[in-house]
Point group: C2
DNA sequence: GCACTGTTGTTTGTTAACAATTGTACCTCT
DNA sequence: AGAGGTACAATTGTTAACAAACAACAGTGC
């Protein structure tokens, strides 16, 4: 019923809990569900036309992704963010990306490099109008994910996927209100990434490390700035 | 029924899925369940006297911990290990521990340092007979966990807990057969840890980094060696 | 003998009902 | 009026039955 089999039959069979997980993640990352808001199992189940079982599983998975918090006997809420979260997320990101670049320098295949360039191409082909914060940050994360894939490091990739969701949510959150600031920053990313591809191709591990660190630092400063400027949304009162 | 309420009532109410998770984790980490072995939901549920719901949740959690692998419509198996896993685990461990030490140098409280020394004390008070691989590695991991706690970094701690389980399982696996090798190595750990505490107390971040890296390297070499020497157990035939 | 197919049994995925816990509103008593 | 307690409502935790997918095997046709 809630199975949206668009056209062709899916290769790896999707199961209801997968569908619910993806739907819910999309709802959170598209800011349909604001941070702090309560998610009742039954309500969501009815809304999606499924039973509570798959919904429970989905909430557990999203909790591990850091998009949702669960309290015993009290249920789930959409995760909310503060300055500490930014510090934690970006400090984690730095060490993970450095490791990813080291391994990518060692193990990246020709296909991996091609995949990275493909994302890069899509970025440069964006028209001025398409160059929205949402679209650009989506491509940015896609590029970095391509680097992690190139690292061929299973555990590192799993950890990155979790952090990626949180970064995504954080960006959506900080950018949800003001659309003007981005124009001055965004164009920089493309050239950064182009340089990164070449460094990996040349297996210049030392250079890769400094390059990625400054690249991420820029992102962190931007995010911190936006976060500070952002007017706090109506706090969910049922917090204390 | 399966609720083992030993004496006093637990502070934070434990729920069935928690009990199942812990029981199953113990069974895996104590090598009662060997790597590769199949875990049927129904069987485990009956064995523990609960229904399949909590068992499913437990399996999901242990999958995220990396102790169990789940295949769609095919069920769960106890995770098994190879040389690649060792490389992945220890490369992750290095970057996580370095980050933990940086943050611990910055944010460790007096209580945190005390907690570390308490673990250290228990190590040095072990009698010759108590100094088994199992006991020593348990204390080793406990010490490192204390450092992560001292870092006061929520996401880093969560990631470490996952990796810690895997390291634990890996150690149990490599040491499951031969008990003789350890005697020559084990005594080193205590002095390493003692030095580590002092470095954190003195907030010597640079020194902490090199110290922890050589410390972990030793562990990796030992594990790799044991793993290579270990005779492969009877492969679970239902693999291919 | 070998490939194919239908059947059967086992296991996971899903559902709906039941039990237990938490939060709230109202009532009573001091 | 305020403190405390009781009943009620809402929500999560748990269970058992049902549906769907997968795996093994016997039987059929070539």
């Amino acid at each position: 019923m809630a199975v949206k089999s668009n056209g062709l039959a899916l290769a790896s069979r999707r199961v209801l809990s997968d569908v619910v997980t993806d739907d819910l993640r999309d709802a959170i990352l598209s800011h349909d569900l604001e941070p702090g808001i309560r998610i009742a199992e039954d309500g969501l189940a009815i809304q999606l036309g499924v039973s509570r079982g798959p919904v429970r599983e989905a909430l557990l998975r999203l909790e591990r992704e850091g998009l949702v918090t669960i309290e015993r006997h009290k249920g789930a809420r959409v995760a909310s963010w503060n300055e500490t979260d930014i510090e934690e997320i970006y400090s984690m990101r730095k060490v993970l990306e450095v490791l990813a670049f080291e391994w990518a320098c060692k193990y990246a295949t020709a296909e991996d490099l091609l995949a990275m360039e493909e994302v890069l191409d899509r970025y440069f082909k964006l028209t001025e109008k398409q160059r929205t914060p949402k679209e650009v940050s989506k491509l940015d994360l896609e590029f970095h994910s391509a680097v992690f894939v190139a690292a061929h490091h299973e555990r590192l990739n799993k950890t990155w996927e979790i952090l990626r969701s949180q970064i995504h949510a954080l960006l959506v959150y900080t950018w949800s209100k003001d659309e003007k600031i981005n124009k001055t920053y965004l164009p920089l990313w493309g050239t950064d990434h182009r340089e990164i591809v070449e460094v990996i191709r040349g297996k210049q591990m030392k250079k890769a490390k400094t390059l990625i660190l400054t690249h991420i630092d820029r992102g962190q400063q931007r995010t911190t700035k936006h976060f500070a400027e952002k007017p706090l949304p109506k706090q969910i009162s049922s917090e204390g």
